[in-house]
């Protein structure tokens, strides 16, 4: 029996990597009057739906997907939330 799971994956730049796009957005916000914004970092958000036997199995697969393709571990970190399509319970990693 497999289950349908929804995953929300967040890919963010490692703190040590400069984010010129984030800096540009911060300066845009400043021009709009938001002087109180202290930092902007831009990442990626991926939604995917997958079939897996258990939540653990789905998490293991998501870890591998992120390591292999969705994130580049040299410059990016990732985390994901897994939602059981039937019994919604958030698993954060």
């Amino acid at each position: 029996m497999t289950q349908t799971y929804h995953a929300r994956i967040y890919v963010t730049l490692r703190p040590s990597v400069l984010d010129p796009a984030g800096t540009a957005v911060q300066s845009g916000l400043k021009h709009l009057g938001y002087d109180n914004v202290e930092g902007v970092r831009i990442g990626k958000y991926v939604e995917l739906t997958l079939q897996a036997g258990t939540a653990e199995e789905a998490e293991g697969q998501l870890d591998r997907m992120c390591d292999q393709l969705l994130a580049n571990p040299v410059i990016e970190n990732y985390r994901f939330e897994l939602v059981d399509a039937i019994a919604p319970a958030s698993v954060s990693k």
Binding site: S16, V17, L18, D19, P20, A21, A24, L69, L70, N72, V74, I75
Partner: protein
């Protein structure tokens, strides 16, 4: 010396490379479609510039899984030559054949220009036809060419003399203004520890024909060829 040029959907410098290796240097060259795996007959694999698979997700992220790149991994592990130019450099870092990563340019612009590049050292085979610290001019054309690596990786690169090209001014000085994309340590091109894999953001193949204004990139290809002549 037989060259192979990988062609992805979205490659756009593949024929420029073949024009140099076959057209100007008279070496047998064949285009390798990204779905091909059989590259045993080739001595040098060139991963050209362009926007492989649209560069979706990250530059080079999807290209690395193509059959041709998996074969290139084996090719490199046998100690055979691999040259990645621009998008090719991005692909080689994504697949771990070269350390570090290439991220968005410091000033966010796509930079299309001719820049001064310092040849750091004269090594076989890539830069043996240049003088150490020779300043040459090469075209660049990229939006994500800012080289990044963590401190430990940078130390390794410098300790093992893996940096072969750095952005500089016309006097060969590493000034911030002469760094077109914000690359750490002004890095424009590196080789792997073993020395058989080179990745660089500047385009030597676009500076190989006097009719097009510059031949500063030609020595790179000629260096490769003379290595072959020695070893035969």
């Amino acid at each position: 010396m037989k060259f192979g040029v990988i062609v992805f959907p979205g490659s756009n410098c593949d024929r420029d490379v073949a024009m140099v290796t076959q057209g100007l240097l008279g070496q047998p060259t064949r285009m390798v479609w990204h779905q091909d795996r059989d590259i045993d007959d080739l001595d040098v694999i060139v991963v050209p510039g362009g926007f492989s698979y649209g560069d979706y997700l990250r530059c080079g992220a999807i290209a690395r899984f193509s059959p041709a790149m998996q074969a290139t991994l084996d090719h490199a592990q046998k100690g055979k030559w691999v040259l990645g130019i621009c998008n090719g450099f991005q692909v080689l870092t994504e697949m771990g054949l070269l350390p570090g990563a290439l991220v968005r340019n410091r000033d966010l612009h796509f930079v299309c220009d001719r820049v001064s590049v310092r040849v750091e050292r004269s090594v076989q085979p890539w830069t043996q036809a240049y003088q150490p610290h020779q300043v040459i001019t090469l075209p660049i054309a990229h939006g994500e060419g800012c080289y990044y690596a963590d401190e430990a990786t940078l130390n390794e690169l410098e300790t093992h003399q893996q940096v072969l090209f750095r952005y500089c001014n016309s006097a060969g000085e590493l000034t911030p203004e002469a760094n077109p994309n914000g690359s750490i340590h002004h890095i424009a091109g590196i080789r792997n520890r073993q020395g058989n894999v080179l990745g660089m953001m500047p385009h030597p193949e676009r500076a190989a024909d006097a009719m097009l204004g510059s031949t500063d990139g030609m020595n790179l290809f000629q260096g490769l060829l003379s290595t072959m002549l020695v070893s035969v």
